[in-house]
Symmetry: C2
Subunit: 342 residues, 2 copies
C-alpha cells in the first residue's frame, strides 16, 4: 500500500546514491557515521532514501562486511519449556535480554536441534554466546568452540579459560542444612534432580553442600530424585519420599520442589512446619506466593543475568571479562520449625 510505485527492484545503498548523485559510500556514511558528512547533504540523502522506501542498511550485508551481527546466542539444552516456563530461568532470560539491549545487542535463542540438518549452534549467525543449563559435552557447546565464538558460561563448568558466572551454591546449601540441624532435625531428606544432572553445577553443588554439612553432624540424608518436568513428577517423588521414610525435614533443589513437598505432606495429613520442615532454594516467586512462605536460599538471578550479558558484551567489545560467583543467603520464613516432639 505504501509503495512509491512499481519499482520493486530492491532499493539498496547504490540506488539511493545514484538518485542523489553521490557515491555509495556517502550514503553509507549518512546512515552509519552521521559525523562524516555535512548535515545538509545527510538530510538530503535521508529524505531521498525515505522517498525510495529504503529502510536502512541491510543487516545481513552489514553483518558480513563488519564481521559482527549484533546478536548473541543463548544456548540451551533441554526442551524450551524448561527454560521459559520456570520462573527462575525466565527471570534470568529477561535480565539477559534487558542488559543485551542496553548494550546494543539482540538475543537469539539457540535451541537444541530437533531434526536433520539444522543445528542452531552451528548455523545461526551470532557474535558470541551464553551457555546456560547445557550439558558441557553437548554438540552445541562443541560447535560454539569450533566457531571460536566468545562464550560466557552460566552455572556451568566449561573450563577455567571460559568466563563463568555462577552462584555459590555450596555455601547456600550448607546454610540450609545447618539451619535444619540447628532446629534439631536429624532425620533429613533431600529432593534433588535425577542422576542425569549429576554434573550440573547447581544440582551437584547443592547436593554436595547438604551432604557435607549433614555429615558433619553424623547425618546421612535420604536422597530422592526427580525432574523439573512434568510438574507432577516432583509431587510423586515427594510423596514417595515422605511415605517411605520418617524424615522430619526436607532440603529441596528449588522452591517449586519445596511446594511439591508441602503439597505431598498435606495430602498425607502432615502440616508444615509443625510436622515437617521444608527448605527451598532460589527464593523465587513461589517462595512467597503460597502458604506457608518458604524458608529458602536466595540467589539473585537478575544480577546473574546482567553480569552474564555484560561479560559477553565486554568480550565482544574486546574488553576483558571476569568470572563471578554470586553469593547466596538463607532466608528463614515459615516452612521450617523445630523438630516435632513425638
Amino acid at each position: 500500500m505504501s509503495d512509491t510505485g512499481l519499482d520493486m527492484a530492491k532499493v539498496t545503498l547504490q540506488s539511493v546514491a545514484d538518485e542523489v548523485g553521490v557515491s555509495r559510500m556517502t550514503v553509507s556514511n549518512a546512515f552509519s557515521r552521521p559525523d562524516q558528512l555535512s548535515k545538509d547533504l545527510r538530510e538530503r540523502i535521508l529524505a531521498t532514501a525515505e522517498r525510495l522506501g529504503y529502510s536502512g542498511p541491510d543487516p545481513a550485508a552489514r553483518a558480513l562486511a563488519r564481521g559482527r551481527t549484533g546478536s548473541v546466542g543463548l544456548l540451551l539444552n533441554g526442551p524450551l519449556s524448561e527454560a521459559f516456563e520456570d520462573d527462575v530461568s525466565a527471570e534470568f532470560v529477561a535480565a539477559v535480554a534487558d542488559e543485551l539491549t542496553r548494550r546494543g545487542l539482540a538475543l537469539t535463542v539457540l535451541t537444541p536441534p530437533q531434526d536433520d540438518g539444522f543445528l542452531p549452534a552451528r548455523d545461526v549467525a551470532v557474535d558470541g554466546a551464553l551457555v546456560y543449563t547445557c550439558d558441557p559435552a553437548s554438540a552445541g557447546v562443541a560447535w560454539l568452540g569450533r566457531r571460536k565464538l566468545p562464550v560466557v558460561a552460566v552455572d556451568q563448568d566449561l573450563g577455567t579459560d571460559v568466563t563463568t558466572i555462577g552462584v555459590d551454591d555450596l555455601s547456600g546449601a550448607r546454610a540450609g542444612a545447618q539451619h535444619l540441624l540447628d532446629l534439631g532435625h536429624r532425620r533429613i531428606g533431600v529432593l534433588a534432580l535425577t542422576e542425569q544432572f549429576a554434573l550440573d553445577p547447581p544440582n551437584r553443588d547443592r547436593l554436595l553442600g547438604w551432604r557435607e554439612t549433614l555429615a558433619g553432624a553424623g547425618v546421612e540424608p535420604v536422597v530422592a530424585r526427580t525432574t523439573l518436568l512434568p510438574r507432577s513428577a516432583a509431587l510423586e517423588a515427594a510423596t514417595e519420599l515422605l511415605e517411605s521414610s520418617d524424615v522430619t525435614a526436607v532440603l529441596c533443589f528449588d522452591d517449586v520442589f519445596a511446594r511439591a513437598v508441602i503439597a505431598a505432606a498435606a495430602a498425607l495429613g502432615r502440616s508444615v512446619p509443625d510436622d515437617l520442615s521444608v527448605v527451598g532454594y532460589d527464593d523465587s516467586r513461589v517462595a512467597t506466593a503460597g502458604v506457608p512462605a518458604l524458608t529458602t536460599v536466595r540467589q539473585d538471578v537478575t544480577t546473574k543475568g546482567h553480569l552474564a550479558a555484560g561479560a559477553l558484551a565486554d568480550l565482544l567489545g574486546g574488553r576483558a571479562a571476569s568470572s563471578h560467583t554470586l553469593p547466596t543467603e538463607l532466608v528463614v520464613r515459615d516452612s521450617t520449625g523445630p523438630v516435632p516432639t513425638p
Copy 2:
C-alpha cells in the same frame, strides 16, 4: 588448545578448496548439497575441513548470499520482564521456539530499543517476525513493515492483510460473565488492564465481552484497572475495588489478577467463593496451583504459539498462511458460587 598450529588466518571455503585441490564451489557443495558430488570426494573434503579447523560455511556470509538468515524475530513491546516472567507469555514463547526449531529456524528476540542508535526491529537480520504484545503503532512494527518482512500478528490487529493468530476472547469473556449471572450475581466488578491497553485486543475484547453480556441483564460492572507489573499493583487495585464497592463477584483479566482478588478478599475477611466469586482468564498454572482452584476461561497458549510459528514459517517458505482465531472454554472450578444471601 585445539588449534592445528599458528595458521590463525581465517579458514574459509577457499582455504579448504586450495588444500584439497578442488574449486571452492565443490567444497560448498560438500557442505550444502551432499548429493552434488561423489561420496568419496565429499568425505575427503570434510576430513580436510575438519583438520583445518573449518567449522562449516559462515552463517553471515551464507545469509547474505542466500538472502535468508534462518532466524525470525519476536517483536515485543513492554519490558521483557513482562514477557518472560508471566506464565502465559513464557508458555507462548516456548511453544514458538519449539515449533520454529522444528522448522529449521531460530528465534531472535527483538526488544524495544533502550537507547540511541540501536533499534532491533530495524537493525537485526531476520527473515520475518512475530508481533506479540505490541502497540500496533510502535516504531518496531513500522520498521518491520518498511523492511517488508513477512509478519504474523499474535493477539494483535495489524490489518486484514496481515496473517493473524488470535483468541476468541469475546466469547470467552461472555461465557465468564454469563456464568456469574447464572449464579445470581448482579453486583459485579471487573479487574482489567489500564487504559494504556484500551486497544490491546485481549484486554479490549474481554472487557467488551463482559460488558455486553452483563448489559444484557441490566448489569453495569464496577470497573477497576491495574497493571501486570509491579505484581503488587493488582493486589492494591483489588483491595480498592472490594473496599469501595459491594460487588459479590469479580471478572478478571487473567488468573494472576484473580489470585490477587482472592488474596485481597482474604485480607478483608471475605472468603472465596462463599462471600465472593472470582473468575480468572487463561487457565494458566496459577489457576490450579492454589486454593481455591480458579473458575477461569481457558485458552490454548501452546497451540497459539505453534500456529503462529508455523504460519510464519509457511510465509517464509513461500506458502500461504491463514489466520486463526482459537476457541476459548469456560472451566468452572471452586472460585465461583451462588450469590451470597445476606
